[in-house]
C-alpha cells in the first residue's frame, strides 16, 4: 500500500492489511505510524533502485503504480546509505519519532 500523507510527513501501515482483513477482520488493526524516510516523489526516478538496493534493512520498495520509492516497513537504523546513494537527493532520513 502506498504511503498516506500525514501533515507533511509520510506514513505507512505496520502491516499491509488488505488480504489479511478479508480472512479475519478482527485479528489486526491498520495502525498509522510516522516513518523516518521521506521520498520527494517529484525527484524520484522511475528506473532507479539505488536506495532499495543499498538499504541494510530492506525496507524501501517501489510503488508499482507510480514507480516511486517509499518506505514500506518501519524498520530503520537511520544509517543513511539510501540518502547518500540517491542520485537526485530525493530522500530525507529523519530520526525515527520515538528517538527524536
Amino acid at each position: 500500500m502506498p504511503p498516506l500523507p500525514v501533515g507533511e510527513r509520510a506514513a505507512t501501515t505496520l502491516s499491509d492489511p488488505d488480504p489479511l482483513l478479508k480472512e479475519n477482520p478482527m485479528a489486526l488493526t491498520n495502525q498509522r505510524v510516522d516513518v523516518p524516510v521521506i521520498v520527494d516523489e517529484s525527484k524520484c526516478l522511475e528506473k532507479c533502485v539505488a536506495c532499495i538496493e543499498v538499504c541494510p534493512l530492506d525496507v524501501l520498495v517501489k510503488n508499482p503504480e507510480t514507480g516511486k520509492a517509499y518506505m514500506k516497513y518501519d524498520e530503520c537504523w537511520f544509517c543513511l546509505p539510501c540518502e547518500k546513494e540517491c542520485p537526485t537527493n530525493a530522500i530525507t532520513v529523519q530520526i525515527p519519532f520515538l528517538l527524536r
Binding site: 489479511l20 541494510p56 537511520f78 544509517c79 528517538l99
Partner: protein, 567 residues
C-alpha cells in the same frame, strides 16, 4: 515457493567486515576455488561498517606497540578469561591488514611526518588510529570482492548450517525478496553474521534503534548452536555507554584525544579511561545511581576549531545521523554535554567477549565450520580483529577443504527446515513479528539487564523457554516478514543462552557485564574458566566449564586489576 540449489567450495555467510575479508583471502590463496558470499542485505552497505568507521580501535603498529603489550592490555581488561593465542593474532596480523586496506584506497590518519597518528584511549597503550575519511570503507571492500572474482548472492538470509557425517556440508536460507528456499552445498563454511544486536529492547522502544546494525540479530550465534558448536562467555554481555535515545556511540574514542571526557552532572570526571569495558560500565552505573547523573560526554570546554573538527568526523562517518539528532533537539557540543545512558544488553565479542568458541585458527568445534568477527569469541576484537579473523578463517578453510567432496544434503532435514521457515505464511493473520519481538526483548530487559538477580533470571529463563510456543503463533504475509520472523527465532535462542550462562557463573566478573547481586565478588578459585554451552545429543542446552588456555604472555592478575574509577 521455488527451491534454488547452489554449490561452492567455500561459503561465507555474511558479507560484512570479516566476511568480505574471508572471501578475498580465500581467493588469494586459492584462485581456482569457487567462493560464495551469502548476504542478507547487500555487501555494498551492510553490517556495522555500512557507513564506514571513525577509527581503528585495536591497531598494533610497530614502533608504537607490540602484540605482547596488546595481549596484556586485553587480558587485564577482560579479567583474565580469554585465549591469549587468539588475541595475540589480532595484534600480530593487524598491521598487515591495515597496510592492505591502505593499498585498496582506505585512508588512515597520519601525522606531518607521514607516520600513523595513533591515539591513546585504552588504559595503557596507543591503539586507536583515526579514519576521518572512513565513510566509504564498505564500498571499497565490495569493489575488492568483485576484483577477486568472488561470487555474491545478496538478499539471502542463512537460517541453518548443515552438518552431516561429522562435518559441515553447507547451509540453507531464505531469499528475503522472492521467498525462495536456498540450499547451498559447501565444503567449508565461515559464519560472519556479526553481533546479536537485537537482544535487549532500547529504552526508546524502537526495535531498530540499536547500537549494532539491527540486521545482525544473533543469526550466527543461533546457527552455530544448532550446528552443534560450542559458544562461550555468553554471560559477558555487551553493554555500552551511548547517546541517550539515539543509542549510538557519543563518541569518546574520537573526541577524547581532542580533550573531551566523560563527566557526571557536575561536570567532573569519574572514570580515568574512556575505553569501553565492563568495569567502566560499572562506574557509569554507580554514578547514575549515586545522584550524580546523568553522565555526559563533555566537550563544551573545548575551543571552536576543535569542536568543528570533531563534528566533521562524527557527522560524516560511522553513524552520520548523529548531527541531525542533536540538531533536532537544539543541542550543540559548544554548549551542551552529550547526555549518555546505559544501553540494553547484546552479545558481541567485538566489544566484550561473547561468541562462538574459536581458536587462533578461527575454527569452531565443528569440523569445517569457522567463525569470525563480532560473533566469534576473540574478546575486544573490534574492526581490525574482524578483518584479521576473516583472513585467518579464509586461509585455513581453503587448506582444510582441499581434498573434500560435496555431500548430498539430507532430504528430511531440508523438509523440516522448509516447514519451519514458511510456517508463519500459513497463518497470515497470526501475531505480527513486531509484537512478538517487542515482548521478547522487553522480557530480556526485565529479567537479564544487570545487575543480575538469580530469581529474576530464573523467571526469565522459563519465559524464554516457553516462548518457543509463542514463535509458533507468529504470522507473516510476505518474504520480508518471514525474514523478521526467523530473526525472532534467533533472538529467542540468544535470550535463552544469555539467561543460562548468567545463571551458571556464580560469581561477578567483567564489571557490569556480569554483576550478580547474590555473588558480588570475583571468585578466581572456582570461576577462573570459561563457561561454554552447546546443544547436547538430546537437543538440550548443556553448560560446562572450559579451562583457560595457558598464557603465552605473562600477566599477574593479582597485581594488575582493571580499575578505572576516579577516587
Amino acid at each position: 515457493m521455488n527451491i534454488q540449489y547452489l554449490q561452492t567450495d567455500f561459503l561465507v555467510v555474511g558479507g560484512g567486515t570479516a566476511g568480505t575479508m574471508a572471501a578475498i583471502k580465500a581467493k588469494q590463496v586459492s584462485p581456482e576455488s569457487d567462493i560464495l558470499i551469502l548476504e542478507k542485505a547487500n555487501i555494498r552497505r551492510s553490517g556495522a561498517i555500512a557507513m564506514g568507521m571513525d577509527g581503528v580501535n585495536t591497531a598494533v603498529i610497530p614502533g608504537n606497540s607490540t602484540p605482547e603489550q596488546y595481549t596484556r592490555e586485553i587480558t587485564i581488561a577482560n579479567d583474565g578469561i580469554l585465549n591469549q593465542k587468539a588475541v595475540y593474532e589480532t595484534g600480530r596480523l593487524g598491521f598487515e591488514v591495515i597496510q592492505e586496506l591502505e593499498s585498496w584506497g582506505v585512508k588512515f590518519q597520519k601525522d606531518h611526518e607521514g607516520n600513523y597518528d595513533l591515539k591513546q584511549v585504552h588504559r595503557v597503550g596507543k591503539y586507536v588510529l583515526p579514519m576521518p575519511e572512513g565513510k566509504d570503507l564498505k564500498k571499497i571492500l565490495a569493489r575488492q570482492v568483485k576484483r577477486h572474482k568472488v561470487r555474491v548472492t545478496n538478499r539471502v538470509m542463512a537460517t541453518r548450517v548443515m552438518v552431516q557425517d561429522g562435518r559441515v556440508i553447507g547451509a540453507v536460507g531464505l531469499d528475503v525478496r522472492s521467498g525462495d528456499f536456498v540450499v547451498i552445498q559447501a565444503k567449508a563454511v565461515v559464519l560472519c553474521t556479526g553481533a546479536c544486536g537485537r537482544l535487549g529492547l532500547p529504552a526508546s522502544g524502537y526495535l531498530y534503534g540499536t547500537y549494532e546494525n539491527p540486521t545482525n540479530a544473533g543469526d550466527g550465534y543461533s546457527m552455530a548452536y544448532h550446528a552443534g558448536a560450542e559458544l562461550t562467555n555468553i554471560e559477558c554481555f555487551q553493554i555500552n555507554p551511548l547517546i541517550k535515545d539515539y543509542n549510538g556511540p557519543a563518541c569518546a574514542y574520537v573526541a577524547s584525544p581532542f580533550g573531551a571526557y566523560t563527566a557526571n552532572a557536575e561536570g567532573h570526571r569519574f572514570i580515568s579511561c574512556d575505553y569501553w569495558s565492563g568495569q567502566m560500565m560499572l562506574e557509569v552505573y554507580k554514578e547514575l545511581n549515586s545522584g550524580k547523573g546523568p553522565v555526559h560526554l563533555k566537550m563544551y570546554h573545548l575551543d571552536d576549531d576543535t569542536i568543528n573538527e570533531i563534528e566533521t568526523i562524527l557527522w560524516a562517518n560511522e553513524r552520520p545521523s548523529r548531527g541531525r539528532f542533536h540538531e533536532g533537539r537544539g543541542e550543540d557540543y559548544r554548549t551542551h554535554g552529550v547526555e549518555m545512558n546505559i544501553s540494553e544488553i547484546g552479545l558481541c565479542s567485538g566489544h566484550s567477549a561473547s561468541g562462538v568458541w574459536v581458536n587462533e585458527r578461527a575454527e569452531t568445534t565443528v569440523p569445517g565450520l569457522y567463525a569470525a568477527g563480532d560473533m566469534a569469541s576473540v574478546p575486544h576484537n573490534y574492526m581490525i580483529g574482524a578483518f584479521v579473523y576473516g583472513r585467518i578463517a579464509g586461509e585455513n578453510a581453503m587448506d582444510y577443504l582441499q581434498d573434500l567432496e560435496h555431500i548430498e544434503p539430507d532430504a528430511d532435514f531440508l523438509k523440516a527446515e522448509q516447514e519451519r521457515i514458511y510456517q508463519p505464511l500459513n497463518q497470515a493473520n497470526g501475531v505480527p513479528h513486531t509484537q512478538v519481538e517487542y515482548k521478547l526483548r522487553r522480557l530480556v530487559n526485565d529479567y537479564l539487564q544487570p545487575p543480575k538477580s538469580p530469581t529474576k533470571m530464573d523467571i526469565g529463563l522459563q519465559k524464554f523457554v516457553a516462548y518457543e510456543d509463542t514463535l509458533d503463533i507468529m504470522g507473516a504475509s510476505d518474504p520480508h516478514e518471514l525474514m523478521r520472523c526467523m530473526e525472532v527465532h534467533f533472538i529467542r535462542d540468544c535470550a535463552e543462552m544469555a539467561a543460562r550462562a548468567s545463571l551458571y557463573r556464580k560469581e561477578s566478573r567483567w564489571g557490569l557485564y556480569h554483576y550478580r547481586l547474590d555473588h558480588p565478588e570475583k571468585n578466581n578459585d572456582e570461576w577462573f574458566c570459561h563457561v561454554n554451552l552447546k546443544k547436547s545429543e538430546s537437543g538440550h542446552m548443556e553448560l560446562f566449564k572450559r579451562a583457560v588456555e595457558p598464557y603465552i604472555v605473562d600477566v599477574n592478575l593479582e597485581n594488575e586489576v582493571y580499575d578505572v574509577a576516579v577516587r
